[in-house]
């Protein structure tokens, strides 16, 4: 048994890959490294770059929540501001096809929308698909 293994090891000693193999190996290694990097989220890559540039940069954990809350508040403010501008803008006031909201006098406690209720839909015009049919001819 040992003799066989020794023979095989001796043979392997002469199995040296060609130079092309090592060039391809290097290219393949770089490609896999890039693909591994791309699997990470973008924000993670950016964060690693940032930390790389400023090795001493550290952020308290609560800061993340604070930044997120600020972003939500800011975006809400922007959306509300744009909507108000659109509803009161002089160019849209005359021809705006969107439904408006009719607010009843104070104290009525009810707000009605001029959206069609079911009763304002066209009627269901009746013509059944087939006659009433559920009886057996074999009993009466």
């Amino acid at each position: 048994m040992n003799t066989d293994i020794h023979k095989l090891l001796r043979l392997k000693r002469y199995e040296t890959p060609t130079s092309d193999y090592f060039e391809r190996f290097l290219d393949e290694f770089n490609e896999r490294q890039r693909s591994e990097l791309l699997r990470q989220p973008t924000w993670n890559l950016l964060w690693e770059r940032l930390v790389g540039v400023f090795p001493e940069f550290r952020v308290p954990n609560l800061a993340y929540a604070g930044v997120a809350a600020a972003a939500v508040v800011l975006s809400t403010f922007i959306l509300v501001t744009q909507k108000d501008t659109a509803l009161t803008g002089p160019g849209l006031a005359l021809n705006d096809p969107r439904p408006t909201v009719n607010v009843l006098p104070p104290g009525s406690g009810d707000i009605r929308f001029p959206v069609s209720s079911r009763s304002e839909f066209p009627p269901h015009y009746v013509l059944e698909a087939r006659p009433v049919s559920y009886e057996s001819p074999y009993s009466f």
Binding site: P122, E128, A129, Y138
Partner: protein
């Protein structure tokens, strides 16, 4: 130009033979059809109304027609919804209507308007005379359009369609109809109503018509009893390969709790129920439909070599006892 031709019935003086062809001018024939249909339509219009109702899903619209001078109107059960808010329109006139009865077996509803005075109504025709090729006119309200005529011919008499059995024989008419015309009167060329339009065919080029005799059974029940009273005999039947006295209908089982249990037996061959002659099992549909609960009906049967005339007093139909019929399968009406 004498290209058109019409069939004439054999003259009394001529010996029986093939029908004779009368040569008719095309324009004359077209004019005759136009005139006849127009007369039928014009005479029916005062009796035809648009029926509208509300249910929880919204408005429903269909057609109806006066059945008598007291304001009773035929329409469809599916047109009146829950019956809480029904109104009738004819021209510029509009009346509230109350629901008298809805019959789930025929699909017919009866409503009534008060305060309309003596109403015009349509004369009932003999629906038994309708056969394949009989010309028919439908007068109804398609969609939100004004009252309109549709003209065509009867395609035949059917008891089932696509494997589903009707409650009674229906007229299949090759007449194009539209939604909204459900409940319209179907008239012969004498202007008599021979049926009620109950459904359309999938193609829209035809329809099924409940014969006026079946609708009148519903109305007569309401007039006499205040409600529809379908009858039930309590027998299950099967088809015999060999006819006995012209009938293939043999009683298979008699419900011991049913009204037929006292006189009828398994093995009896049913020959006639009331005025309906029985030949095939499907004849039992018509026999069943025209039974009235509590009202005796003559039944002729063959038992062995004997022919017996018995009397049956039907019980209340299972459907009227709680809508359980739909859940029962074929031949399973024995123990409602």
């Amino acid at each position: 130009m004498l290209a058109g031709a019409a069939l004439a019935g054999p003259a009394a003086a001529n010996p029986p033979g093939p029908p004779q062809l009368l040569e008719v001018d095309d324009s004359t024939m077209a004019h005759a059809i136009e005139t006849t249909v127009s007369e039928v339509f014009e005479s029916a219009v005062p009796s035809v109304v648009r029926v509208e109702s509300d249910d929880e899903l919204g408005k429903i619209s269909g057609t109806g027609f006066f059945a008598d001078s007291t304001g009773t109107i035929y329409t469809l059960a599916s047109v009146v919804g829950d019956g809480l808010s029904v109104s009738v329109t004819r021209g510029d006139q509009r009346w509230p209507a109350k629901l008298l009865a809805k019959d789930p077996r025929s699909g017919i509803a009866l409503i009534k308007v008060d305060g309309a005075g003596a109403t015009p109504f349509l004369e009932k025709g003999e629906c038994g005379e309708v056969k394949a090729s009989s010309p028919l006119v439908v007068v109804g309200f398609p969609f939100d359009h004004d009252v309109s005529p549709s003209f065509g011919i009867a395609g035949g008499l059917d008891r089932k369609s696509q494997g589903k059995f009707f409650t009674t024989t229906h007229i299949r008419a090759n007449i194009p109809v539209q939604r909204g015309q459900g409940g319209s009167p179907v008239l012969n060329l004498d202007g008599q109503v021979v049926g009620v339009l109950v459904s359309g065919l999938e193609s829209g080029a035809g329809c099924f018509v409940l014969p006026i005799r079946a609708a009148e059974k519903v109305r007569q029940d309401v007039v006499r009893f205040g409600d529809v009273r379908h009858g039930w005999a309590g027998v299950t039947v099967h088809e015999m390969p060999m006819a006995v006295q012209g009938s293939h209908l043999m009683i298979d089982r008699v419900d011991p709790s049913g009204p037929a249990s006292s006189q009828f037996r398994s093995g009896d061959v049913v020959l006639q129920v009331g005025d309906i002659a029985i030949h095939d099992p499907e004849d039992a549909l018509d026999a069943s439909f025209f039974l009235t609960a509590g009202e005796p009906v003559a039944v002729r049967i063959a038992r062995g070599e004997e022919v017996l005339d018995l009397q049956l007093t039907p019980a209340e139909h299972p459907l009227d006892r709680g809508n359980e019929l739909q859940a029962l399968g074929p031949g399973s009406l024995m123990a409602p």
